[in-house]
Symmetry: C2
Subunit: 100 residues, 2 copies
C-alpha cells in the first residue's frame, strides 16, 4: 500500500485521520472510538505511517500518533488530480437536470 489516497480511503482509517486531526492520540485513545480491538487500530496506524500520513512519538510507555501535514497534502493533491472537471461536470449537470 504505497498510494496515500488508497490508504486514506478505508472507512476506519478515514475516521482515524479525522480524530488525529484534532489532536495527537495514543493507540488506546483512538481504539476507544471504535468497536474493534486496539490491535486492529494499531495496524491501521502502522499502515497509515507506512503511507507517510501519520507518525508516532514515544512518550513513556505510550505512543502519541499525529497526522503529518506533508502526507495529508499528498492525499489532497491526489484527490484534486482525480476529480477532474469532466467528472465534476457529470455531477453538476445531473443535479441541474434533476432540479428541472
Amino acid at each position: 500500500m504505497v498510494d496515500a489516497f488508497s490508504a486514506a480511503a478505508e472507512p476506519n482509517r478515514r475516521r482515524i485521520l479525522q480524530l488525529l486531526a484534532s489532536r495527537p492520540r495514543t493507540v488506546g485513545e483512538v481504539a476507544a472510538e471504535f468497536p474493534v480491538t486496539r490491535s486492529a487500530i494499531s495496524q491501521h496506524l502502522l499502515l497509515l505511517a507506512s503511507a507517510g500520513l501519520v507518525a508516532a512519538e514515544r512518550h513513556g510507555r505510550q505512543r502519541h500518533y499525529r497526522v503529518l501535514p506533508s502526507g495529508l497534502r499528498k492525499v489532497q493533491a491526489e484527490i484534486d488530480r482525480f476529480w477532474t472537471d469532466e467528472l465534476d461536470l457529470l455531477v453538476t449537470d445531473a443535479q441541474l437536470r434533476s432540479k428541472t
Copy 2:
C-alpha cells in the same frame, strides 16, 4: 466492496472513471489504455458497477460502460465528509509555515 469512496480509490479504477467521464467505452477500449489484460479491466468495471459508479449497456456483442452521475455524487459527498475543516487547516497551516 460496498463503499463508493474505497471503490473509486484504487489507482486503476480512478483512471477508468476519468476515461469513462469523457464518453462511454467498451471493455476493450478501456483496456487498451492500460498495461493489464481485458480481464482485469472487466473485473474492475464489474466492481465499479457493484458500487453503483458505472453501468453497462449491451450494444451488439459489445458492452458500453458509462459513468453513473448518482454514484459519482455519492463519491463526492463522501470525499467532502472526509475532508473536514480540521484536516484542511493542517494542510494550509503547514504550507504557510513552509513559505515563511
